[in-house]
Symmetry: C3
Subunit: 135 residues, 3 copies
């Protein structure tokens, strides 16, 4: 099964969409298999992170913003705005696809793991994610 | 097939578990397929690296420790210890899942590639990994 | 289906091979499934990036070269040349495997996404990539 999801973002940061993926897995009735999440953008990415304390996600985003700042004199690709080239670098350093095994009909995520879309542009929007569930 | 593995770590660094994955693949009798390894933690990660010279792995771990030091004034998520937030950043920069094609019943790893668990906490422990083998 | 591809590189930088993967997917006649690309090296990696403006790729490579320079006093693994240990670090920070869902017989890549091999050694060569297509 392949399904498209839309994840809405409102600027830089991590947006959890674990529930939407869980619901798709349930729909398929696959008991044992593999769920793959893929993002169709190069200025946003995917990450599995702690879903307990929001301060961990905020620190993550601030840390990456400091490592890959806007206005870096190195950039020549600047026509799409000051946050565009940093967004490409951040996407390259994080994940475009993630695969999670399914056991007993459920994602085998750890107790504190959530699936996040990491928005790297200042102005977010509707981001497209594709989910594959196979056996 | 989905199987759980436990990888024991004794502090920061790379721990090879290629043999355990190879053994699971052999058990399945899959001749052509895909093997996916997933880690159920957000303070440890996965990496495929050179299994020849141990100095490459030591340098890798030291390099990442320098890029993501403890005690960074940026961190607000500090209640779980000084090595917790750096561990989350390191996990976000490396891999949570890895997929390796299977051909002739064997992982198609390159001659010098090994599968490693990268422990980012000072005190290691039993880390949970899930392996999926499909065709 | 598992197939081996060879991607030729002529030094550091990003080399697109989307067409070769697309052709393999077409060959399989899989309408709905998953395509996984895996690189059999630890000094080159994979990345999905913008295939529109080449300046974005050049900036990416220059940015990573600055983050992970040659001649770093931290390195002890130096017998294979000054570009070897930086190449391992760069590979660890980027992807060794990528998975892309297939829908209607086509990779669900976004409009501007291309699949690239990222060569991290100064002297390139023939790099081996393995592609798995499943349903």
């Amino acid at each position: 099964m392949v399904k498209h999801l839309s994840v809405h973002t409102r600027g830089q940061g991590l947006y959890e969409f674990t529930e939407a993926v869980t619901a798709l897995v349930r729909e398929t009735s696959v008991r044992e298999g593999l769920c793959t999440v893929f993002i169709r953008h190069t200025s946003a990415s995917l990450v599995i992170q702690e879903n307990a304390d929001p301060s961990a996600r905020r620190d993550l985003d601030r840390w990456l913003n400091r490592l890959v700042p806007e206005g870096d004199a190195l950039y020549t690709h600047i026509t799409e705005g000051p946050d565009d080239m940093p967004a490409h670098v951040k996407a390259a350093l994080t994940a475009t696809s993630l695969s999670i095994p399914i056991s007993d009909g459920q994602l085998t995520l750890g107790a504190w793991q959530g699936i996040y879309l990491w928005e790297h542009r200042r102005q977010g929007g509707a981001r497209e994610v594709v989910v594959h569930v196979g056996s």
